[in-house]
Amino acid sequence: MSKYYQEEIECMEHSKLEELQLERLRDVAVRCYENIPLYKQRFDEAGVDPYHIESLEDIKKFPFTVKQDMRDAYPFGLFAVPRSECVRVHASSGTTGQATVVGYTKDDLQVWGDCFARGIYMLGGGEDSVVQVSYGYGLFTGGLGAHFGAEAAGAMVVPMSTGNTKRQIQIMKDFGVTILCATPSYALLIADTIAEMGMSMDEFKLTGVILGAEPCSEATRDEIRRKLGVQYCDVYGLSEIMGPGVAMECSEANGLHLCEDQFLAEIVNPDTFEPVPDGEFGELVITTLTRQCTPLIRYRTRDLTRFIPGECACGRTHKKIDRIVGRTDDMLIIRGVNVFPSQIEQVVNSFDEITPHYQIVLTTKGTLDQIELRVETAPDFPFDEIRALEDLRKRLAAALKSNLQIAVKIKFCEPKTIERSEGKSKRVIDLREVKQQN
């Protein structure tokens, strides 16, 4: 069995890949212009001619698309094909505003399956794999995206969805599951529950995990690798662009190969929107090259990452992006200071005396914002001596102060009082009277 799912595409010489991208960019720009009124208006306003794209560099002349554009077009205003050609829709939760809806034609679903299947192969999987999908099924793209991707790879799929962790573990063992797809926090909960149930990983056939849909620090990744003892494949995707499978991490464990035959990616400074040099962090901007139902030009993902320069030893030629280090809209403004939860996480993870689980609680005291960090001490921490706890508190507060430039109150919590969710972790609880948003 090949180690690649689509070797001719995944290992294509990069200059050839760019030719393919240019051809597809010309096609998608025209499709958007001719079929979606918003794009016709935007391109005309910006004075760009979709019929005269000379090189990939020309993408920079095109206007950005943002999440609000998708909200405004709710539900089907950005469809580029007649409704009859759309065979499925997905939507974001809409918890922070109007939901965003994306549609898929038969070909769109085929492409999505292929993109995700590449990741199954990156884990050494294929038709012999048993893939347990523990993402939620429904309008959220996670469950069905992983499901059809695993089927495309020829694997046997166990469609578990989320919840009932003990049953998940029993099935995982009884069915000989080799690959688990879940959010990182849920994978961690599964690992901890396996230990609590007194089981050992030797009783499982698991060889790899495909984890995504929420931010995950390097330390948490290490913890999951250590507890499950398997290869970790980070999967990136967002429903607006497709769903999970836009980029996936190969066995080199140093970045995610972005499906460049399907997506044209740029990384820009989130304030100036100018491109940043390769290797520097910025906001990921994606143009879908082949999507038929809801193609997007220069969609601002709000995800912060960077291109990882250099060739990959796995043989794949598609550019790699780093794991997502944060979101431009995760940024908290606390007493006028910009704070990313990922900065706090970095500090938390640098202390062995506390577990990687944490929660940030924002409140208002008088007119000032207060930030409290809730942490749990590690099981072997000598909490018998209050002096040891107070000393830890001081060192943690000092590290946070020097990293964030603001004072953070530390609260030690009892084990497992900090929520480990079965979906996206609730890391930030904002109870402020006036919430500042960027």
Binding site: T377, D384, E385, E414, T417
Partner: protein
């Protein structure tokens, strides 16, 4: 040295009663209980029967519990009883992390001390102090 059960609890309603109920349901008897509290958490120190089993029961119930070795010395229940003990330990150059006292009956009191230096117990015995053994305080594991 005797074994003290130590439990970390958040300074919140219901946590202490939850701890006591958990031990009660496991049929573990407590003899003495002391709380060192701060504004957001407390450290509860307990003398109970079968401290190792107690820690396990609490751990399974989601508490952060451990067993700590502490020194217990019986001193006369009269002025200067504790002072004499502390001065002796001081003269040995050992540092005391924390301590507390309780009396059982009229004649004597028991002073419990967490001392960093493990050799202090032997030295106090040699110096004529009445060092309390575990079985005098609780049922062993």
């Amino acid at each position: 040295m005797i074994e003290q059960l130590t439990v970390f609890i958040q300074n919140e309603k219901g946590r202490l009663s939850g701890l006591c109920r958990t031990l009660a349901d496991a049929n573990i008897n407590m003899h003495d209980l002391f709380i060192a509290d701060t504004s957001d958490f407390g450290v509860v120190r307990v003398f109970c029967d079968t401290p190792q089993a107690a820690a396990k029961v609490l751990d399974e119930a989601g508490f952060r519990a451990s067993v700590t070795k502490v020194l217990a010395v019986r001193v006369p229940n009269e002025p200067g009883g504790l002072a004499h003990l502390l001065e002796t330990i001081e003269s040995m150059g050992a540092n005391i992390e924390y301590g507390y006292c309780f009396s059982r009956g009229e004649a004597t009191a028991i002073d419990v001390l967490k001392v960093v230096d493990d050799t202090v117990e032997g030295k106090l015995s040699e110096a004529g102090f009445d060092v309390v053994s575990a079985e005098e305080v609780y049922k062993l594991d």
